[in-house]
């Protein structure tokens, strides 16, 4: 059963600065700043090639970043929920 399909904002809307292993994001549409850790930046990067549901995202992440294993799907679901709350990701 397919879950919700997620969309991320255009790359132009997000300014990203890396500082010792963490990623500082300025999100122009909200004017808000977020401090995020892997795999959040990678999830956003993978959504840029097009909207995807959790299963498709997992496939893209495994292909690009060796993001797999037992806990991967659960971690992805948790991060997606956080990104959605923060407004960085929305449902199609």
């Amino acid at each position: 059963m397919a879950g919700p399909v997620y969309i991320a904002d255009e790359e132009a809307e997000l300014t990203s600065v890396s500082l010792d292993g963490l990623c500082l994001l300025f999100h122009a549409p909200s004017g808000m700043t977020h401090i995020v850790a892997t795999p959040a930046p990678e999830i956003l990067a993978m959504l840029r090639s097009g909207p995807a549901d959790a299963a498709e995202l997992l496939r893209r992440l495994s292909a690009h970043y060796a993001f797999e294993g037992e806990a991967a799907a659960g971690a992805l679901a948790a991060r997606l929920e956080e990104l959605e709350s923060a407004g960085l990701v929305r449902r199609a």
Binding site: T15, T33, I35
Partner: protein, 288 residues
């Protein structure tokens, strides 16, 4: 408004109106050697008003009003009117200042390089800044550091330093009596006394400085120094900034630039002499 006073502090001009004479007299004495705004205009307005009309005379109660206010703020007694005026100016900066990125920090400068000391209240930054100010450093401010977002420099905002409890004793031993304001007892934070910055700081209150080092001092621990990662510095500085959120992309760019170019150290110190020694060591390292 019955009584009025105007003050220029660094780049900011205040006009303060009061229903009572006493608080403004005290404020005027504290800031006697400060210039009045050259253009006769104000960036911010503070008003000291009776909470209710009859409280102007009967158990006088000073409500802090002005361009920017906290709606539920408790009024102060007339005896603490000077505090009310200072709090009023703080509020205008905290809620209304958008031209500069505000950091809740004490800043001192030597040889054009500025030290930013930030951390929780009670960590001792005001006292350290005051002491450094008497040892050849220029005090730029003890409450707010003003970061110019266009060029990354710090601007001075040398208000009277608000010393509390034990810190009052430390500074009374080092500085002539004429440089102190009245002793205010029974405030929510205990005993407070204001220290007027020295002539050096006041004369140069329009001179910017290049930030060189960020310090997170912590009083009351065995001496220790550790580096602080840039991401942690960023997070702690935004938590300590009252206006970061309102400044959008400009604030983000200015602050990320600051934390990625400046070294940052957390220092624990058991006594002020240790801290002062550490600061001198850092200054020499930076100069080298």
């Amino acid at each position: 408004m019955r009584h009025r006073l105007s003050l220029q502090i660094g780049p900011v001009a205040f006009r303060i109106g009061s229903a009572w004479k006493a608080p403004l007299d005290a404020l005027a004495r504290l800031y006697a050697s400060y210039p009045a705004p050259a253009d006769g205009l104000a960036d911010f307005t503070v008003r000291l008003e009776p909470e209710k009309p009859w409280r102007r005379f009967f158990r006088p109660s000073v409500a802090i009003q002005g361009d920017y206010i906290l709606p539920d703020a408790a009024p102060l007694s007339l005896a603490h009117g000077l505090l009310a005026a200072e709090m009023g100016m703080n509020l205008q900066m905290a809620l209304g200042q958008k031209r500069y990125l505000l950091l809740h920090a004490a800043t001192v400068e030597k040889d054009g390089r500025a030290l930013i000391m930030t951390g929780e209240s009670g960590a001792g930054k005001s006292t350290l800044a005051a002491l450094l100010g008497e040892r050849g450093w220029r005090l730029m401010g003890d409450e707010f550091a003003l970061l110019d977002m266009d060029n990354g420099k710090l601007l001075p905002f040398p208000r009277a330093i608000s010393l509390k409890n034990g810190a009052i004793r430390v500074m009374e031993a080092q500085v002539p009596a004429a440089r102190f304001g009245p002793r205010l007892t029974g405030t929510p934070k205990g005993e407070i006394r204001h220290l007027i910055p020295n002539a050096h700081a006041i004369e140069r209150m329009q001179e910017a400085a290049i930030p060189a080092l960020i310090l997170f001092p912590r009083f009351g621990e065995a001496a220790a120094v550790r580096g602080v990662g840039a991401a942690e510095v960023f997070m702690r500085l935004t938590q300590a900034s009252t206006n970061y959120v309102a400044l959008g992309r400009r604030g983000f760019d200015a602050l990320t630039r600051l934390v990625s170019t400046l070294p940052a150290l957390a220092i624990d110190y058991p006594d002020t002499d240790t801290a002062l020694g550490l600061v001198e060591d850092f200054r020499q390292e930076l100069a080298a």
